[in-house]
Amino acid sequence: MMIESLNYMPHPKQANAQLASHFTDLAPALNARQAAIESARCLYCYDAPCTRICPTGIDVASFIRNIHDENINGAATGILKQNIFGGSCARVCPTEILCEDACVRNHDAEGQPVKIGLLQRYAIDNMALSNHPFARAASTGKTIAVVGAGPAGLSCAHRLAMLGNDVVVFEALEKSGGLNEYGIAKYKLTDNFAQKEVNFLLEIGGIEIRHGQKLGANLQLKDLHAQYDAVFLGLGLGASKQLGLTGEDAPGLLAAVDYIAELRQASDLAALPLPSRAIVIGAGNTAIDMAVQIQRLGAEEVTLVYRRGFEAMSATEHEQHIAKDNQVRMRTWAQPQQVLLDDAGRVRGMRFERTTDVGGRLTGTGETFEIAADAIFKAIGQGMDVASISDPLASTLKRDGDKIYVDDQFRTVLPKIYAGGDCVAPGQDLTVQAVQHGKLAAHAIHSDINLQLEAA
């Protein structure tokens, strides 16, 4: 994955070691004493709202009580039983809109939720299990193909393996982990955690991962369908949405996810191309991740532009604070109108049109302004990579909007083919949601296979 369109740019002034210090843990881990204090705050609610709201149904009160009772392995196992990606979810989950928002302590006198995310991380980081916590059931003799080694695919693979099935995972990229490896801000998942987590997950056995296998390129759904007992598609959303403006391909304009992936994989941060002035378009967590990271690399001026107001941003308030704390300038109520290019055809800025809300409809006011920039990063959402579902069988998959249609058991309209994670319609596009999809799909697959077995 090269970001060739920025190759002409200068590089960060600081050396790699110094730059790396800007990408350490955004929210540092709790030490034992902090975990003891924080876990003591949990009220051990009955039928707890935090558990109810967790997409994977982690028994939060139980794992926190275990932490307090110094049963860290018990706490970690309780988390992993529901969510095998409990470690990365502890770091990347928007807890401020999930468990920590539901925490009853928000309504208690101090008005502060229990730091559930940090406690979850404490449990996972400090577990000392001598073996993988889950054993495989007796072999079913079945093998399932999983496409995509991201959270959805691997969650599905792990649960299928646990239930006694063998799994072959097909992954287009060099590394497993999906967005955890390539897409999350570097300071949210540090120390190669994504790979460590994948390795831990694979300890269960029965899972083989084949890299460089891209559906629609060197891998056909019809072959998987023919060769395996079932197929799970955890494709994610591989395509960045387009602005639809002239100059979209100009040097200096690229998708934020591509730069983030490059940044996360860089062995030398000082070798990255770095615009001194950057515009980020969008208002999701990816936009914030992009803006903050480029600022931390040493960009002079980073402006995030969004066509609506702060309250409409999909980035949570917590994320918006991170951007503000990192001196990211945020302009709202403005939409891209024209990519401004210099004589060499490279990005020199962007013209925006001010917008307003007219009866719920976003409308341009006709008034414009320009922001000078050396690079523009698009973070206006991701979509299905159409190429990956374009082979003769895949193209018959029923769609739901631009995503794959599934029923409540994560079955597509094609027999033996299931899908989950960001590439399907239900749920929010969150890691934790993808993990739950994978887990539930595994149970559906396993149960469907066994039913067929009984019927035969």
């Binding site: 009220l43 051990y44 609610c45 039928d47 109810r52 009853v104 208690d108 006198a109």
Partner: protein, 441 residues
């Protein structure tokens, strides 16, 4: 700032004290240095750490352990220290000097000796010569000393308590306070014995036999002494309920009525002190709280007690000493017609569900959990099922959210002896007559 009006000075079995806060016989009162610091901090008196016969006791290392709450606050404390490990002569010299330097402060000398009258007869004049205000007989130490026939070994045998008390009254003019052990079935027996022996007062409780916790790796209890442990004396906040009950038992026992009580056991603030006093303690002794926080705590204790007294219109301590004793009675005299019902203040409720699960699992299924379409939970008391046990109020994390509301039953006072549901109702009156006869004897 308006001046506090309450007079905190007391007279306890003839001993005048500028306030009712004394330090108990324990490590904080082991030597002049500590005691002087305590007096500087404002304590009204001290009971000097127990003196015994020479050679002095020898202590081990380590000595203390604790039971912690969820936030590492010390709930209970335990020690295996013996009586003073310094010579009698040094202690007597220091007592003499400190009393001379601090004439308005009380110094009580704690004593522990084998049960031989001559030993007591010999030591008492020496103590009297220091100018000390009184003596306290340590009949309560539960660790180490009982193995040598002293401390709790004496306190557990009422006849010994009476005998040694009498020796002390015989050989000394000083007020004698008998310190009682809680490691006994009925604390009234040694209290009656102390009174029979001529005691001027009792003090209680001494510490409780205890093991606070274990090292499960080494399989040994704390405090660890070279890979082994022994039971120690338990004190601190955790023992307060036990101490309060024992104080009340003596205070309301007709046989010991009027016997001054020095309350001890988990007192850490003015409210604890006021509670002990309300149940009949004329003064209180503090140890663990001072050991954990230093002598400075007496400042807040004095201030808090004064303000509370002002607020309540008590001008002197004796105005409220014993005031809760008449309201402490036997179960059989409680009003069977009294009824409270839990009431949940929905504005304060944080929806944790603790009241619900507690009542549902372990009590009377008197709280309903209602979940609306949006998943919002509401907890409501089922009035007809509620027996008024207080469990929901106790487990509720929000202070004041659940209250127990007295109901208007329209029924008069009726105790168990009068209750038609009592199959032995006719016997109760007879039992009471017997009890009164016994008490009179």
């Amino acid at each position: 700032m308006s001046k506090l009006r309450a007079d905190l000075s007391i007279e306890f079995c003839g001993i005048k004290s500028i306030n009712p806060f004394w330090l108990a016989s324990a490590p904080p009162t082991d030597k002049a240095y500590n005691v002087v610091r305590a007096f500087e901090a404002g304590w009204g008196g001290v009971v000097w750490k127990t003196l015994g016969e020479d050679p002095a006791a020898v202590n081990v290392s380590s000595r203390y352990s604790a039971l912690y709450g969820k936030n590492r606050e010390v709930i209970g404390f335990n020690n295996i220290e013996l009586i003073t490990d310094r010579s009698l002569e040094i202690n007597l010299q220091e007592i003499t000097q400190v009393k001379k330097d601090w004439p308005d402060r009380v110094i009580i000398v704690s004593l522990m000796l084998p049960c031989e009258e001559k030993l007591w007869a010999d030591i008492l004049p020496l103590v009297e010569a220091t100018g000390a205000d009184g003596i306290e007989l340590n009949f309560g130490c539960p660790h180490g000393m009982p193995e040598r026939g002293m401390g709790a070994a004496v306190g557990q045998v009422p006849e010994y308590v009476e005998m040694v008390t009498r020796w002390c009254k015989t050989h000394s003019k000083l007020p004698v306070i008998v310190k009682l052990t809680p490691n006994i079935t009925d604390v009234r027996a040694p209290a009656r014995a102390a009174k029979a022996g001529g005691a001027d007062a009792v003090s209680l409780i001494n510490t409780i036999n205890s093991i606070t916790h274990l090292d499960l790796d080494q399989m040994v209890a704390y405090p660890v002494v070279g890979g082994a442990s022994t039971h120690g004396g338990y004190c601190g906040t955790a023992v307060k309920p036990i101490a309060l009950n024992m104080v009340a038992e003596i205070a309301r026992d007709p046989a010991t009525a009027g016997l001054p009580i020095s309350g001890i056991g988990g007192i850490g603030n003015w409210r604890d002190a006021a509670e002990f006093m309300a149940l009949g303690s004329g003064c209180v002794q503090v140890c663990t709280a001072a050991m954990l926080h230093g002598f400075r705590i007496v400042e807040e204790m004095k201030d808090g007690l004064s303000r509370w007294m002002d607020q309540k219109g008590y001008t002197k301590v004796s105005d409220f000493v014993g005031k809760a004793v008449p309201n402490t009675t036997d179960w059989k005299y409680l009003n069977m017609n009294y009824q409270v019902i839990a009431q949940i203040n929905q504005d304060d409720c944080i929806k944790c569900g603790r009241c619900y699960v507690a009542c549902e699992d372990t009590s009377h299924q008197s709280i309903s959990q209602l979940i609306d379409a949006a998943g919002v939970r509401t907890y409501e008391v089922i009035k007809d099922e509620c027996v008024g046990c207080n469990l929901c109020e106790i487990t509720c994390p929000v202070q004041g959210c659940i209250t127990m509301v007295p109901q208007k039953t329209g029924k008069p006072y009726m105790n168990w002896t009068q209750d038609p549901r009592n199959p032995r109702a006719e016997n109760v009156a007879a039992v009471k007559a017997v009890e009164e006869t016994v008490a009179a004897v």
